[in-house]
């Protein structure tokens, strides 16, 4: 595969506005890069894959958040983004008619939730009515740069599948750059190391193969002891 060149904001990418994709903007019929990233250009589309940047919520994302405030009708959740998320009491399946939000989640609790709605004022509504969603009471949270999350997931979830089958750990990757891992402590250590490798080498080729090799080697060391 060819390596993707690095582009800077304002770099001219194409003169046909029809090909403009994510990470680009159109001005006077020309397509320019919007932020620092890798150029992904084909005949039908031009897009810029960000190298850095904050997490901007979008509907359907699974995120990991920390409860920052408990109100009478729900929880305000920090989702590692410029915008705070809000989890209404009705969106938590643990909620019962005679229980108060305070009984279920406290300040500082970590939850896995899903973004269900974003209004034009960027008010983010979360839900926990999903198979993946839960309150996290054990395991480990690994923070990474949100721009590198797609590489941690891998093509069609290949990276996650690798961790699950090779090491038998539970892993949930929040789109906001927080990753929850749970399982055998030594195996979790291997996953954490692997994630940091992925984060720092996210913009290189052949990453999946190198991570597979890394995980197998570390697993072998573990069993050899």
């Amino acid at each position: 595969m060819m390596t993707r060149p690095i582009v800077l904001p304002g770099e001219l990418l194409a003169s046909n506005p029809k090909v403009a994709g994510a990470g680009t903007y159109v001005d006077k019929g020309k397509v320019y890069a919007k932020f620092l990233g890798l150029l992904d250009k084909s005949e039908t589309s031009v897009r810029v894959i960000p190298l850095k940047g904050r997490y901007i919520p979008s509907v359907g994302d699974v995120v990991i958040g920390i409860v920052r405030e408990v109100t009478s009708n729900g929880w305000a959740v920090d989702i590692n983004s410029p915008y705070q998320g809000f989890l209404p009491a009705a969106e938590n399946p643990e909620m019962r008619p005679n229980r108060k939000p305070n009984d279920i989640l406290e300040i500082g609790d970590i939850i896995i939730a899903k973004v269900v709605n974003i209004d034009p004022k960027m008010k983010v509504t979360l839900t926990m009515k999903d198979r993946m969603c839960r309150a996290v009471r054990f395991g480990r949270i690994v923070p990474i740069n949100p721009a590198r999350v797609p590489r941690v997931i891998g093509k069609g979830g290949s990276m996650i599948k690798l961790f699950k089958t090779e090491l038998g750990v539970q892993i949930i990757v929040g789109k906001n750059g927080l990753i929850w891992i749970s399982g055998d402590r030594r195996k979790v250590n291997i996953v954490e190391e692997a994630i940091y490798i992925i984060e720092s080498e996210a913009h290189t080729e052949g990453l999946t193969d190198r991570i597979t090799e890394f995980v197998k080697r570390r697993k072998g060391e573990l069993n050899g002891q």
Binding site: L8, G10, Y83
Partner: protein, 256 residues
């Protein structure tokens, strides 16, 4: 010392000797520039920049929640820019904290940065830019703008292009690019410029100030001079950012 200053004020000091400037530069030559990207670990984006004897460091945070909340704008991000001089950055120790001068510089610089940052993408959020002058030698606002622009790119903030900034001064009746301290203090005029540059082309002027006097023709010449200087700086900014990310990928390839 005092008599020397009086001499200079009465115009007895020569700033141009044998067609060269005091530091040996030609009229349209920049001071040496050195840019380092990503120097601060806790900031989203950062940059250290030297422009001659000026040493500045810039940090960018955001987009993030704005505090206090009432400052947030429901339709776009608020950009905050703080220019500050370290007490030890100038010869006579400066009183720490904001003064009238740095508040003014912060305002005009913020307006220059706002010309390129795509604020409308982040309603109700804030983008904070902090620049600190560690050592000053004339032209700190231009150095800070150059550093801030690089730091914003490093933070991954969406922008229309880059800001490159340089000043032109009039000393001994000639125009000189990127004045140093002596030229700034004893010259006849000082005109800092900042340009919005996109795809190797100057799109607009983002900042223009002037103190002193120049004729209309001299001003036109100064503008052309500044444009050429800013283009040079733009290339250096680009190289610095690309170099930061190139090295990373080379290391990876070597251990394969």
């Amino acid at each position: 010392m005092v008599s020397e200053d009086l001499n200079r004020l009465s115009g007895d000091i020569q700033l141009i000797v044998d067609g060269k400037r005091l530091d040996g530069r030609g009229f349209d030559e920049l001071r040496p520039i050195n840019i380092k990207v990503g120097v601060l670990k806790r900031a989203d984006g950062s940059c250290y920049l030297e422009m001659g004897k000026n040493k500045v460091v810039a940090a960018v945070y955001g987009p993030r929640e704005v505090h206090p909340r009432h400052l947030a704008d429901p339709v776009k991000a608020v950009v905050r820019y703080r220019y500050s001089m370290a007490p030890f950055s100038v010869e006579e120790r400066k009183r720490p904290g904001p003064d009238r001068r740095s508040i003014e510089i912060s305002k005009v610089s913020r307006e220059a940065i706002e010309a390129v940052v795509m604020k409308e993408l982040f309603p109700r959020s804030g983008i904070d830019v902090f620049v600190e002058v560690l050592q000053a030698d004339a032209g700190t606002r231009t150095a800070c703008l150059n550093a801030a622009s690089v730091a914003l790119v490093d933070a991954g903030v969406p922008m229309r292009g880059l800001i490159s900034s340089v000043a032109v001064a009039k000393v001994d009746d000639v125009l000189v690019l990127d004045p140093m301290k002596e030229e700034d203090n004893y010259g006849q005029a000082d005109i800092p410029f900042a340009f919005f540059i996109r795809n190797d082309k100057i799109e607009s002027i983002a900042l223009l100030q002037m103190d002193g006097r120049v004729s209309r023709d001299e001003f036109k010449e100064a503008l052309e001079m500044a444009k050429r200087g800013a283009m040079e700086i733009y290339q250096m900014q680009k190289e610095a950012i690309k170099a930061e990310y190139m090295i990373e990928s080379e290391e990876v390839n070597s251990d394969e």
